[in-house]
Symmetry: D2
Subunit: 369 residues, 4 copies
């Protein structure tokens, strides 16, 4: 583990926000996955702050440079290393944070963990910026899944921002046809989208920040993926989702609401539809015993408001041991919820890739090739 | 991964509900952990259904037999294998489930995953029974943590059952002194406890089941444990928590409520108390950047109602392809929430053990020895 | 790692020589491997000392008891746990070894490693006895390989015992048809076999011991298995082979002799034979760049003489700090070379299983099913 | 595994000989290791072909560029990524090898493994060039070991080249004081060194190549490092050593010679010297039961002659299916034995790092800090 995840595919992230570059190594990829460079660019753009009025003023282009593992446009099967150079850094903004740790941020815990040797500039390795190579990895995972015959890739949508909730409760079939007007701000209900955007701009004016809730749906994964116990689909997805900075909650299907139901309500009755076994309801979010049932796999993720805010707040001065007022300079997102959507899609695709490969290895499934 | 978890300590679970026995191998334990057999017995008893009117009529004594890795009352440092024999099985109760899969259970997904080769009896490897060896592993982890100078071990309490919520909102210091009248039914508010017990008995009479919410608190873990990204404390705990059957949600600190706050509210301001850095609030649940801050680590777990209920429900007959009425025989828990508490403590202790060992390995911390 | 090996299949060994039992968990097996219990018994017998005049007087029957992971005669795909009870122990023989460590044995290093907490009786976890569950694991791997269409399983033969060398230098096609008169003492040249047997009995009379060399051949593995670098076939086999107690050397193909050749001699020229690409010579032992070429994979293993001998030898008394004469009681093998053959076949089969599963996972190969 | 090795430290190699760059990620390093950039440069130089008349005409400077994980001259504890750009490539030299695979090389097995998607240029990921980042990783491991109080780091010396053997049989104390006149050609016996150098130049003139044997000695590792079975010191070292291209054999201590001794000869008797427990002989190469005894850990590695030679040789034309004459262009080493010495030191240091960290984690040992 550490900064490496996975068994069948191994993903190693590296980099600091203000170092020379960040990147990822994807090890144990199969040979022959055609890389769609347009898709990669599009995914990187969805996460980036460029041309994005709801995001940080630090605009990084996030151009992915592939060092190895790709030849003639396809994966070779040897480790794929990709780097992204950091270009737009202003490290002096961060000097004060060594003495005045930001509340809600990793300044103090990072110093405890790394005995003071961490690169504190821009949050160092704790920066949300490290999710950029994760989005690249997710794009590769999506291409892999497509090539293996996965019909529907995971799709993320914003359920809530700053307490403003999308009232849409799409049916299973609507979820299966999920599509959005704006993939960088994916909300089903357009009037709510406008309210959310307004709320973000107001928070930005106040030098404050907002959080939210994102839902990720994989419309019809093959049944039989996953395992009971430590390799449950839930465990794999949860491991990755809680790796994403700012995530504080995760629920599958009806989630916490399930805990107030009786078994007779919660159980999703089986029936046959168009020759396929389905369930009438989907309270269990497409997962039973840690394994996909073939119904949509649905989960919700709670994102906390960005910890770095310009607004004055109290913190401890580690030298003087006095509580002081902190006004953070730096450049930060008033709300990362829209940008985190593509990151959550990425980790979901990576989790499915693992599950799929486990099934291939067991001879329980066959690829589309 | 698979049925093995961990890097510094490796835990391998095995067993089926109605096979000869279930068990666990704990590999890579350090030598010299004194095993307190009374504690082990007490922990096993907390999970067991023996003398437990709120639990399944299947009463297994769950006597742990240690095969290896212990000598003269202490761990040797070689793999510790422990088995529990299955004694009280009635396998014929389950024959029908091959044709009539239980809604909400793993009968159908297990058959998809294992190509029909799974042991279906009593849920096989999907049975909650496999959490018994996990509780044993957790007891060993607790002894390890104690021996290393961990002051406060993780403690679980019931927040809600069947929608009945414990109104107590204990302060940080109350949480630190968490103690219960009844460790097999750990509720802070005694009137609520009685209501919950009544609700379980009523659900049992109705041949139905209830779910609930459990909170786990580790009062003051050492600061600096955990990592950013894939080895965040959240990722490790989440991986293990979602391995426990019936878990459908997990939130840290204020969890989903955090997503509706502004940053200025959500950030927990630092101050000094008794010479120690603390935060005024603990919305972040003691974790920042994936790393412990020294504040109580708090999380909530949503448990769905037991899927196996006696009450008639609709399911598909896989032979006739018709929807039929299913009345499950077998013996089941009307509510597993009380029994799951010690399981969640166990996995939390295991997660801390991993984090602690990583810190030892890095030379960032010293054991109490 | 630790006592767990593997990525696609995970093998966890446990047990001490004089504890209640030893065993293994095989995790991540695919479902549906039919278990041939006769083959398992035969393999266990090949390793056992029962009816074996060249082996230790401690005669353990080594009956394998399967606790989980098998249902209706086939693997379920959930963890397969198997245990073997220790029955014939005489632990008092070993008390002196705490003070007088045996030269050439792990008594002293084990105490250093485990801070004195190790179970010293009969060598504890260091005992060659722990290879019994490894042979069981190997038998399962052999069944798996057969079910996947592997034509030729790995076969071990004795090349030398106590300096007596088998003069046979079989051609590639003879190696492919390797078969033996006595699988418990597999020597190609019968006169040499008799000499070896005589030498073992003489060493036993002298209360001394012999070592030897074993060759393992996999006649025609599928080409394309393995990887460059850390997952080379050589690395995987070497990792497992050096896990077997008493192994001190390993060479592939012409091995150390290759180091004295020129490239023009060492390179094996390609040609076509019966429509298949082969090499004229096989100095590289069927492996190039860490990957199987389809030619026989051949390696040699050096086994040291059993460290425990009855003959008087000098050792240090750890209390008195004086050099003293040690006469080991206990019961030991005068030569483990014949018994280690089936162990080396087992680990080779396990290594191939890993490689095969990696290929399946990559979609580079298809199983015979 | 794959291209990632290790549990406590995870090393991920990447790159192809003729791609944009090669590199390594070192994950899970502790914070605070001071990086001695001079040592790194010196180690890289030892492996490089620059100013090296016995090496390939392809002269790469191998400048290491650190992208992350180092701040203010010390490791941060977050992943350390380092890349080396490929500068001196002549890819057109390799076009013919797709049709005419080189005997003794991975051209054909690589195509089988990667379904034809591999980057064939310059051997691609199979190139010995990928050992450059491994040497960098080894340099970091050496610095770590030094900082932890390891007195003597592993040292490699050439035992034989092209059948010319160094007659020196140094005593244990001479081995402990091993030092060389020329670290890029480390031979103890100077007349033999000259003969070896002459033999390499003659082989180069003949457009042929030579192999050899390297010995690696770690003079006095702390006792108690390693484990029985899968994590034996031998298994760890063997795994890494056989990852190095061209290695075909490995023996510990007296190695294959041990197999012809009797136990009474092979066992190394204990005695006390200067208050420390030592053995009179060291046939077991400092390792008993997979664990270090404190005596010098000694092993020998067989290196095959470089497969790529200019001299005409026969190979198969995969298009015409005819045997043809092949004259390899490209630029190659007439003998890689001298360059491989620092690589073998590197992997040995990495193996010790793992063992040491395991001991730290177990609380069995304390660092010098």
């Amino acid at each position: 583990m550490g900064s490496t995840w996975g068994n069948h595919i191994q993903i190693t992230l590296f980099g600091e926000s203000h170092g020379p570059g960040i990147g990822v190594v994807l090890d144990k990829l199969p040979p022959g996955i055609s890389l769609d460079m347009d898709l990669i660019e599009k995914e990187m753009y969805r996460r980036s702050a460029v041309n994005n009025p709801y995001a940080t003023p630090r605009k990084e282009k996030d151009v992915v440079e592939i060092l190895s593992g790709v030849f003639n446009g396809a994966t070779t099967g040897t480790p794929l290393a990709a780097i992204i150079k950091n270009e737009n850094t202003r490290s002096k903004d961060y000097a004060q944070l060594l003495v005045q740790p930001r509340p809600g941020h990793a300044d103090l815990t990072g110093a405890a963990r790394y005995s003071g040797f961490q690169d504190h500039r821009g949050g160092g390795h704790f920066s949300g910026r490290i999710t950029a190579p994760l989005v690249f990895a997710g794009a590769v995972a999506k291409m892999y899944l497509k090539s293996q015959g996965f019909e529907h890739l995971p799709v993320a949508r914003i359920l809530a921002i700053g307490g403003i909730e999308d009232p849409c409760e799409p049916t299973v079939s609507e979820l299966e046809n999920l599509s959005f007007r704006d993939e960088r701000f994916p909300v089903l209900h357009s009037a709510t989208e406008e309210k959310m955007k307004g709320a973000i701009l107001r928070a930005a004016e106040d030098e404050d920040s907002l959080g939210g809730v994102v839902q990720v749906v994989t419309a019809s994964p093959p049944p039989g993926l996953g395992d009971p116990f430590f390799d449950s689909v839930e465990s794999r997805i949860a491991h990755l989702v809680f790796s994403v900075p700012a995530v504080k909650g995760l629920s599958f299907g009806a989630g916490f609401k399930l805990s107030a139901m009786r078994g007779s309500q919660a159980n999703d009755p089986y029936r046959i539809q168009n020759g396929k076994i389905v369930t009438e309801t989907n309270h269990n979010g497409g997962l039973l015993g840690g394994i996909s049932s073939g119904m949509p796999v649905v989960f919700q993720v709670a994102i906390k408001p960005t910890a770095s805010i310009g607004k004055a707040q109290k913190t401890l001065n580690l030298s003087s041991k006095q509580v002081e007022t902190l006004k953070i300079k730096g450049r930060h997102d008033p709300c990362i919820v829209p940008r985190v959507c593509v990151v959550l899609e990425a980790v979901t695709a990576i989790a499915w890739m693992e599950c799929w490969m486990e099934a291939l290895k067991n001879g329980c499934i066959e690829s589309a090739d």
